[in-house]
Amino acid sequence: MSQETTHIVSYKTQIFVLLALLVLTAISVAITRIEMGPFNTAAALLIASIKASIVLAWFMHLKFESRFFTVMVAAVFILFLLVILVTFFDYSYR
């Protein structure tokens, strides 16, 4: 089997990625101090999702792999969300 061409992520990019993640963490902690009702949880989950996407794309190299991997990761997340949705058909309406 032939080796696929590998993409080397530079150190500089990785430092930028880390900085972005740290800033998002700071925002996430800071935002809990502001009263926004149910939007606090939504904001926390939104920021966590952005962080997760950054880790997936750069640190886990999804950005540079074949599309198949990205599609599969997305499919797994959708599957998980659907499971939650269907479970809450029970819990939200009891």
Partner: protein, 537 residues
Amino acid sequence: MSDSNNAHNVSYLDYKGQYKGLSAWIFSTDHKRIGLLYLYTMLAFFSVGAILGLLMKTELIAPGATIMGPKAYNALFTLHGIIMIFIIVVPGLPAVFGNFFLPIMIGAKDVAFPRLNLLSWWLYVIGILIVLTSQFLGDGPPDTGWTFYAPYSFQTPANVLPAVFGAFVMGFSSILTGINFVVTIHRMRAPGMTWFKMPLFPWTLYGTAWIQILATPVIGITLLLIVAERLLGIGIFDPALGGDPILYQHLFWIYSHPAVYIMILPGMGVISEIIPVFSKKTIFGYKAIVLSTMAIAFVGYFVWGHHMFTSGMSGRALYTFSFLTFLVAIPSAIKVFNWVSTMHKGSLDMQTPFYWAVSFIFVFMIGGLTGLVLGSLATNVHVHDTHFVVAHFHYIVFGGTGYAFMAALHYWFPKMFGRMYDLGWANLGWGIFFIGFNALYLPMFFLGMQGMPRRYYDYLPDFHGGNIISSLGAWVMISGIIIIFANLIRSARHGKKTTQKNPWGGKTLEWQVETPPTLENFEEIPTIEKGPYHFGE
């Protein structure tokens, strides 16, 4: 490298590797030997599970304690369930025939990760051993049923922990097999074998492998939570501490319903291989079968709630799950239509594998249609937890997977062992088995509709008639099983030797390699140009 010459002309059964004797098998990374390791382990435990079933049916031949009391009966149906589900039918077809034939059918020398494959078998055996300790250690064998429902499973003094942990370890084995198969199919198909030139058995294994990967971790964490509940009292499923036992049922069935498709999909694959070969006709609607396979795998993930219609879910959840359950029936029915259409106007070759395949369709139809009775809310409430359910899932799991397993065994036997079995005995065994099977399970539908609950050693005198037929059927079926296995075991050792590559006239790749296959299957990896079922009409 010095062996590579050898590996091309010596059968995998005679190949002399680094180890000798038993070690040459239990440390072999050859996918074919690993397949046989699974086969032998399963046959051993199938015999145990079948004897347990026979004992239960004998107990039910008359009301009251016939040969055992309630405690023994509870322990028996628990162990019968654990063995049959976790040790036999879940790994079943993928582990035995998937391992043996998946690489050959897609034109590869082995699976993607041969050592991981061996590890899967070892984990499987270790899991079995852990489960077995539950029978002999501590405070008596588990009596929870194979479902380990909370809160009873962490309140009973019985020895539930090893059973749960053993099932967890076997889950690991199942996941690794799934990963292996998905990667094998993605990376190791022979040149020219595009996705839609792949035979149907590998296709169903592909769908199955995805369910193994995506559903098994759910049971893993659920069983771990039961362990934590028993040991630490974390309260997650304990109503006394605020936990919700119905959530356990949700989690359990999020795995265990897709697990039913882990069991049945490869069976459908086997039948899709056998029907065209013995009809001498291209499979009808190849793409429809492929797509319905993937549809079943996907939709099957979201129907788990139909096991819980009387548990106390919300009304909206009830009809959502009922609707989704009806959806999953459609692709299954498409397949039956395809098989029947394949046989239509074919030149049928009535041989043992074909008998098994056709009877598969018959019992699968009964199992599937009674599944609709269980999928609709109103009728479900009436027959929930009765013998109707027992009959339904035995028609699907034993009638589906079991018949497909027997079909596969009789179909591929000459290729696997390089010997032929006695066709007369095989047909006789099939006939007796088929009669016994229906006598055993058909009356259960009626008993269930009359209201006989499952999982009791005793019943009202009103149910006596049906139970007598059913219990006698069990004895007839066991006689059939003994004939079938005696014939196959004898033939594997002393049967007529054959090196004929293609005894049935199949078109898939496994019929083009040596009988029995050489260590590396192919001297030269073939290039595929035509579809898998080209009978040249």
